[in-house]
């Protein structure tokens, strides 16, 4: 089992003829059982191929060629064109959009997210590396070339959610080395407004029988961690998945008004600081690790505790 994507997921790549998109297409085709990339879209390039994937001028052409609905799209077009590309995907029935593009103004992101909600679709990102289900499929640049992705990600019981693409791989690799594989890892993006937050992905992991615990990477800025803490507290205690968080950028508490690493890290209010977030997470029973190497032991023992208490074994 997995969340969001599986071996049968079909998707397109919008902006497929760009340099990074060509690499990303190769990586996804090579990984796991091989992604079902049923088309690419770059206006004016109808009739070309990228690693055997047919290129179209419009999403509608790709859907027609496929002969039925397409599940997802990876959007890699420049920031000025992203809003239009995502609207095009949503209006052509695509239900899962991974936006790789960085530096998109919030106004555009908010419009995309709002339309997605109206269409019953989901957005991951922007400014993210996408989703990986170890050994099965990757949708996006997450983990890099198939060989490198296979080195870091292994199948197992941990769901990983991260505001940093690179740290998704670093944490998953650390978990894999300790024998804790991943059910799925999602790079959700580092911007101030994103399509899917921790709290919005949690119900999917909670419903997945393979997932026994969650590891998240967090940063200062925004209210996403507060939202996760509130969501967790609203769940019945026996049904709560164990969560371990890592908080980077603690030094930023001394530098209000500055943003480091990702656009979304700017601290705009006292609720956004690292120390405030750590307190909120801890209050919701979410352990916060000081070091990445401590995470496997922390999440492992939380899962074991829960199993011995008779929960989370899938029997309930």
């Amino acid at each position: 089992m997995s969340i969001l994507v599986d071996a049968d997921t079909t998707f397109i790549v919008q902006g497929i003829t760009g340099r990074e998109a060509v690499n990303l297409t190769r990586e996804c085709l090579d990984y796991g059982s091989g992604a079902k990339i049923v088309g690419g879209v770059t206006p004016g390039r109808l009739g070309r191929e990228v690693h055997g994937v047919p290129v179209f001028d419009t999403v509608a052409q790709a859907v027609e060629h496929h002969g039925g609905p397409i599940d997802g799209s990876v959007v890699t077009v420049p920031p000025a064109f992203t809003r239009d590309a995502v609207f095009e995907a949503l209006e052509n029935g695509i239900k899962l959009v991974v936006i790789v593009t960085e530096r998109i103004p919030r106004r555009d992101v908010a419009a995309m997210v709002e339309l997605a909600a109206l269409r019953g679709a989901r957005i991951i990102g922007p400014n993210c590396l996408g989703i990986i289900v170890p050994d099965v499929i990757k949708m996006g640049g997450i983990g890099g070339p198939a060989k490198n992705a296979a080195q870091a990600y292994t199948p197992g019981p941990i769901g990983v959610i991260s505001r940093s693409g690179g740290m998704t791989t670093e944490m998953s690799s650390t978990l894999s080395a300790a024998g804790l594989g991943q059910s799925a890892a999602v790079s959700i993006g580092g911007d101030a407004i994103i399509g899917s937050t921790y709290a919005e992905l949690m119900p999917l992991f909670a419903a997945d029988p393979q997932t026994r615990g969650i590891v998240i990477y967090t940063e200062p800025g925004g209210r996403m961690e507060a939202e996760l803490a509130a969501w967790t507290l609203a769940q019945e205690e026996s049904r709560r998945l164990p969560i371990v968080a890592f908080m980077a950028g603690r030094f930023m508490d001394e530098m209000p008004g500055m943003s480091f690493g990702h656009a979304g890290t700017i601290v705009e209010g006292k609720e956004d600081t690292a120390s405030e977030k750590i307190a909120r997470l801890a209050n919701a029973g979410i352990q916060v690790a000081e070091r990445i190497e401590d995470i496997p032991e922390m999440i492992g023992s939380r899962i074991a505790e829960r199993a011995s208490a008779g929960n989370g074994t899938g029997s309930g």
Partner: protein, 414 residues
């Protein structure tokens, strides 16, 4: 990107919100001319991108043009929290019956803009929200539907405002909401919004902040306001070291090797990527290390860019060694960064084995990268060494180096 008050007021005025008959100047003498034109008591306000102006003496009241000149002269040379003022704003002292608050910000959880309105203005809205929550009205609005005035009406009415004031406030707050969206603002605030004796409203101060990512869309407007492309408007002005880093990063379009921030330590950092840099900077400090800088490498930069950034860090006065560390890379190539940092050492006549305290970048093309590092005797680590452990080793090495040059007091007596 934050606007000065005189720019924010111009934005408010262009949006169709009434403003006072203020004037902006960089010359003390001219402040007198503006005060004479206004003809009555005035307020002289420092134009500086920092809070706490009043407390710092950056806001003064004048009864005559002569007094306005004297105050302006003083304020123009007054540094506030490390910022020199851009100029002064000369404002008529309005007879205000009541001060209101009107603002628009983004709500990242709801993923929509939200209007915030209160009949309690002139003070920090967060304080009002805490002490008198029933007097703060909020309404979110769509980013797909055109803005409709009823949203503003609901926000105002839910703060307890009714009567003739409501009708006068709706168009003002609606215009503020529209200008927030149209200009890609992250904050648009009129505080205080004053109600005069005749029942009309006027903006008495404004705060505006435009999203950096959207600046290219608003070049015409920024040009008209006189905002230079080189102005970062960060919480603190960029240092020459940081500007040099920006230049290196923009030298070619492949990848990132920049986002440099200067600190005053002795350990130069060549680190990445976004999240990795945050994690590593924390780790170095947690082990007692003193970073000389923050930076980010990512997106597979060229050898020359990695080399340029490393040379910049190595040349910074006070830097004894550098640590080259990243979280596992999948897009950036290990061998390219390795070549860049070694080239930088050699070009500056440094021994890479001595200058590079540790190289910890595992991932794509690592075999090739590690081979290069071995050839130059550089201490490197693969993914089995955590980010935290790599940072610890770097700090240990530089403290060892410092101890031989000038032993810390504690050790000398031991």
């Amino acid at each position: 990107m934050r606007f000065f008050e005189y720019e924010a007021r111009e934005l408010v005025r262009r949006a169709g919100v009434p403003v006072t008959d203020y004037g902006f100047t960089t010359e003390a003498e001219q402040a007198g001319e503006i005060a004479a034109r206004i003809g009555g008591p005035t307020v002289i306000k420092s134009q500086v991108l920092s809070g706490g102006r009043m407390k710092a003496g950056g806001v003064k009241f004048a009864d005559t043009p002569e007094e306005a000149v004297a105050h302006a002269r003083e304020i123009l040379t007054l540094e506030i929290n490390g910022h020199m003022p851009r100029g002064v704003l000369v404002d008529p002292r309005a007879e205000v019956e009541q001060e209101y608050y009107a603002g628009v910000v983004w709500d990242g959880t709801r993923k929509q803009p939200v209007i915030i309105f209160s009949p309690v203005g002139g003070i920090d809205i967060e304080q009002v929200a805490e002490e008198q929550p029933e007097r703060v009205g909020r309404r979110h609005f769509s980013n797909i539907l055109p803005f409709s005035d009823f949203v503003a009406k609901e926000a105002i009415a839910s703060s307890g405002v009714t009567g003739p004031a409501l009708g006068k406030l709706v168009p003002i707050v609606s215009r503020l909401a529209r200008m927030f969206v149209e200009n890609d603002m992250v904050l648009a605030e009129i505080n205080p919004l004053g109600r005069l004796a005749d029942g009309s409203f006027v903006a008495l101060d404004a705060h505006m902040d435009m999203e950096n990512e959207a600046r290219p869309r608003h070049e015409k407007l920024l040009g008209e306001l006189g905002v230079g492309k080189e102005e970062t408007r960060q919480a603190r002005e960029p240092t020459p070291f940081e500007l040099a880093g920006e230049q290196i990063d923009s030298s070619d379009h492949r990848g990132v090797a920049g986002n440099v921030t200067e600190f005053d330590g002795n350990l130069g950092l060549v680190i990445g990527a976004g999240g990795g840099s945050l994690t590593l900077f924390d780790a170095v400090r947690a082990h007692g290390g003193r970073p000389a800088n923050y930076c980010e490498i990512g997106g597979n930069p060229s050898v020359s860019k990695a080399c340029g950034l490393t040379k910049l860090v190595l040349s910074k006065p006070g830097v004894d060694k550098i640590a080259v560390m990243m979280s596992i890379v999948s897009n950036t190539r290990v061998d390219i960064v390795a070549r860049g940092v070694i080239k930088a050492c050699l070009e500056l006549d440094f021994d890479p084995a001595e200058k590079i305290a540790i190289f910890r970048i595992p991932g794509a093309w690592e075999e090739e990268g590690f081979k290069i590092l071995e050839r130059y005797g550089v201490d490197y680590a693969d993914r089995s060494v955590s980010l935290n452990e790599a940072a610890r080793r770097a700090v240990e090495k530089i403290q060892g180096a410092g101890a031989t040059a000038a032993p810390p007091q504690g050790e000398a007596t031991a």
